[in-house]
């Protein structure tokens, strides 16, 4: 991991096209601004990890014999 020190208002450039800026320091909280092309997804890591894990758990090679039950109000024809 490359570790750099930045003051509020300073930035880091990645791959010549992604800019990470330290917008503000607020006690324990660092406000980070990210400029990236729209084909570069940016996520908070902990949420990314959880959703990635959920996606991997969900992908299936087999078709289930029965599908989950949905809440009653959603029953077709009701």
């Amino acid at each position: 991991m490359l570790i750099l020190s930045r003051k509020a208002g300073e930035s880091v450039v990645i791959d010549g096209r992604i800019i990470v800026k330290i917008v503000r320091l607020d006690g324990d909280l660092v406000k980070v601004g990210i400029e990236a092309p729209s084909d570069v997804p940016v996520h908070r890591q902990e949420v990314y990890d959880e959703i990635q894990k959920a996606n991997r758990e969900a992908v299936t090679h087999n078709r289930p014999r029965t599908l989950p039950k949905l809440p009653q109000h959603a029953v077709r024809g009701a």
């Binding site: 997804p41 959920a54 599908l67």
Partner: protein, 136 residues
């Protein structure tokens, strides 16, 4: 005299995900397969890898008042001009023990006109990544 056997029409349409799904970023395109017998569930299947697929469901079938708030970036990315442009599918997990859940925190938001979509992360919403469903 001939007998006409009516088979349910399975509808298949291609959905492009330029950024893929989280953890599956290399897969940019899926077949969205809807079988009327499985409604409202549908399948997002990886083209040419017939056995790799995600079970999905429109969130209104789970939570009628589901209202994800999209960021300006996501709206721009998907070229959304009005709520009518949007269709949403959420990924369902069925576990080996038969319990199941649906990911309401990471919906797949699709522009119905371009059939281009994105898995959006609703970071500040109260929705769960594992919203429980009834057992399969």
């Amino acid at each position: 005299m001939s007998t006409v056997v009516e088979t349910p029409q399975v509808n298949t349409i291609t959905v492009r995900l330029p950024l893929g799904l989280l953890g599956f970023e290399h897969i940019k395109s899926y077949w969205l397969i809807s079988n009327p017998e499985e409604e409202p569930f549908a399948w997002m299947q990886v083209p040419d890898e017939g056995d790799l697929a995600f079970l999905v469901v429109p969130p209104a079938a789970v939570l009628p008042d589901y209202s994800p708030v999209l960021s300006d970036d996501d709206v721009a990315f998907l070229a959304i001009e009005s709520p009518d442009d949007v269709i949403i599918y959420n990924i369902v997990t069925i576990r080996p023990d038969g319990t199941s859940s649906v990911n309401l925190k990471g919906p797949i938001v699709i522009n119905r006109h371009s059939m281009t979509g994105k898995q959006v992360v609703l970071a500040n919403s109260p929705y769960l990544i594992q919203h429980p469903l009834g057992s399969a």
